[in-house]
C-alpha cells in the first residue's frame, strides 16, 4: 500500500497572494505510542504477506497446477495490463493448467471479459476458478469462463445487470441505478398514463433526461448477456445448447431484483449451472486461509491508515479546532478557495 498524504500536505492554505502555505510547522511531532503501533502493524502486515505466499505454495503443491491469486475490489482497464505482465513474467512454466483464486466485487465488464480470455490462454488445458467468499458482477463473468468452478460453502456470485453511478446535475446528487431500474421507471410512467393520471405521468416523463444516454444504458445489458453466452457455452457449460446457455445468461442479467443478490451454489444449481463444486478438505482450508489472511491484512492496513488520519487530526486540533464535526467543517471553510 502506498503511504498516506504527508501531514504537511493536509493543512494547506492559500495566502492572499495565492501561494501555498502550510498550517503545521512541526509535522514530526508524533506520539510515541502511535509510532510503536505503526511499527507493529507494519511487521504484522509483512508476516501476513509471508503467510499468504506460503499458502499459495501449499496450494500449488496440493493441486500440481500454477496458482494465481486475484484479489481486487474493482476490475479496471489497467488491471488487464498488470495481470498480463505478471503472467508473462511469472507463469512462463505454466503447462496449460491454471488455478485462479478470485475475490472481487466486480468492475468494468469489458476488462473482465478480456481478463477471462487471458486466463484461458494460460489455462488452455484446464482453467479452474476458486471463490472463497465472493466474485460479484463482472467477476461472476470471469469465473464463468473456466472449465471448473469451486466455491466455498459461503461463496457467492452476483447478477450481471450493469450498474451506473452518476451525478444528477439537476438535483445535484449521486444516483445509483441499473437498466432494470429504468425499465421499472418506464413501466411506472406507462401505468400512470393507463390509469388516467396524465399530469403525474407527464411530470415523471419530463424528469427523464438524456434519452440517448438512457437508451445506451438499457443497451449495455446486452453486452453482459453476449459475453456471458460466449464464455459459458465454450467451457463450463459446453454440453448445453445455445438456447439453454442464453436462458442462463438472461437470468444473470435480468432475473434478479437487486444487483447485490446472493447467488450461492444451490442457486446456481437451480438456474441450470449444476457443475459447480463446493470446496472441502485441504483445498478449502488453504483457500480460506488465504482469504482470511488477506482480509486481516486489509484490516491492519485500515488501522494504520486510521492512525495516520488521527495523527493528522491531532495536527488539525493544533490549528485551533476542537476536532468535532461541526467545528471541523467551519475550519475547513477557511481552506476553501473563495
Amino acid at each position: 500500500m502506498s503511504g498516506l498524504i504527508p501531514v504537511e500536505d493536509l493543512f494547506i492554505n492559500r495566502n492572499e497572494s495565492g501561494t501555498w502555505q502550510n498550517d503545521i510547522s512541526d509535522s514530526k511531532n508524533e506520539a510515541p505510542d502511535t509510532r510503536e503501533r505503526t511499527v507493529i502493524l507494519d511487521e504484522e502486515i509483512k508476516a501476513l504477506e509471508r503467510q499468504i505466499e506460503k499458502d499459495i505454495e501449499r496450494f500449488r503443491d496440493l493441486r500440481k497446477n500454477r496458482c494465481l491469486p486475484f484479489f481486487i475490489d474493482t476490475i479496471e482497464f489497467e488491471v488487464v495490463d498488470d495481470i498480463f505482465d505478471a503472467l508473462r513474467e511469472k507463469y512462463k512454466d505454466c503447462d496449460g493448467k491454471l488455478d485462479v483464486i478470485i475475490d472481487s466485487s466486480g468492475g468494468d465488464i469489458h476488462a473482465a471479459y478480456n481478463l477471462a480470455m487471458l486466463f484461458r490462454k494460460y489455462g488452455y488445458k484446464e482453467l479452474n476458478f476458486f471463490v472463497p467468499r465472493w466474485a460479484k458482477s463482472a467477476a461472476t463473468l470471469i469465473v464463468c469462463s473456466g472449465d471448473n468452478l469451486y466455491m466455498s460453502p459461503i461463496a457467492e456470485l452476483g447478477p450481471l445487470d450493469p450498474q451506473i453511478s452518476q451525478f444528477n446535475p439537476l438535483e445535484r446528487r449521486l444516483e445509483d441505478f441499473s437498466p432494470l431500474h429504468l425499465g421499472a421507471t418506464l413501466e411506472l410512467i406507462r401505468n400512470e398514463f393507463k390509469a388516467g393520471n396524465k399530469d403525474l405521468a407527464n411530470g415523471l416523463l419530463q424528469r427523464l433526461q438524456f434519452p440517448l444516454t438512457l437508451g445506451y444504458i438499457i443497451k449495455s445489458k446486452e453486452v453482459s448477456q453476449n459475453y456471458m453466452c460466449k464464455l459459458l457455452g465454450s467451457r463450463l457449460l459446453k454440453n448445453l445448447t445455445p438456447n439453454e446457455i442464453k436462458s442462463i445468461a438472461d437470468k444473470f442479467t435480468e432475473s434478479y431484483p437487486d444487483h447485490s443478490y446472493c447467488i450461492t451454489t444451490s442457486e446456481l444449481n437451480e438456474i441450470g449451472i449444476n457443475v459447480v463444486k463446493e470446496l472441502e478438505g485441504p483445498e478449502l482450508d488453504i483457500i480460506w486461509n488465504i482469504y482470511k489472511s488477506h482480509a486481516k491484512k486489509q484490516d491492519l492496513q485500515d488501522e494504520k491508515n486510521s492512525l495516520e488520519s488521527n495523527k493528522n487530526l491531532d495536527g488539525f486540533r493544533k490549528t485551533g479546532s476542537s476536532g468535532n464535526g461541526n467545528k471541523r467543517r467551519k475550519h475547513i471553510r477557511k481552506w476553501g478557495i473563495p
Binding site: 500536505d9 492559500r14 494465481l68 505478471a86 451525478f167 491508515n305 495516520e308 488521527n310 471553510r333 481552506w335
Partner: protein, 80 residues
Amino acid sequence: MGDTVIQDDYQDKYVYIMDILAKRGEISEEEIRSLPIFTNKLESRTIIEALKHDSNLKIITKKISEWPMLEWQKVFRISP
C-alpha cells in the same frame, strides 16, 4: 478547476481535495477516505464520485504491490 457541481454541504471538502491535488498532482481514493474531514462514509463516497466526473481529472488504477499478491488502488490525477 472543479467543474463538477455537488451539494453545498460538500463543496468545501471538494475544493479542499482539489487544493491537495493542485499541490501534489495526484491523490488516491484510499487517501481521500482516510482524510479526517469526513464525518461518514457517504461524504467521502459522494466526493469521490464527484471527482470521477470532473473533466480536469484523470483516474488511473495503479498497481501497489507485486506478485504473488497483486493489489491496486484508484488514483486521481490532474490532466496535463
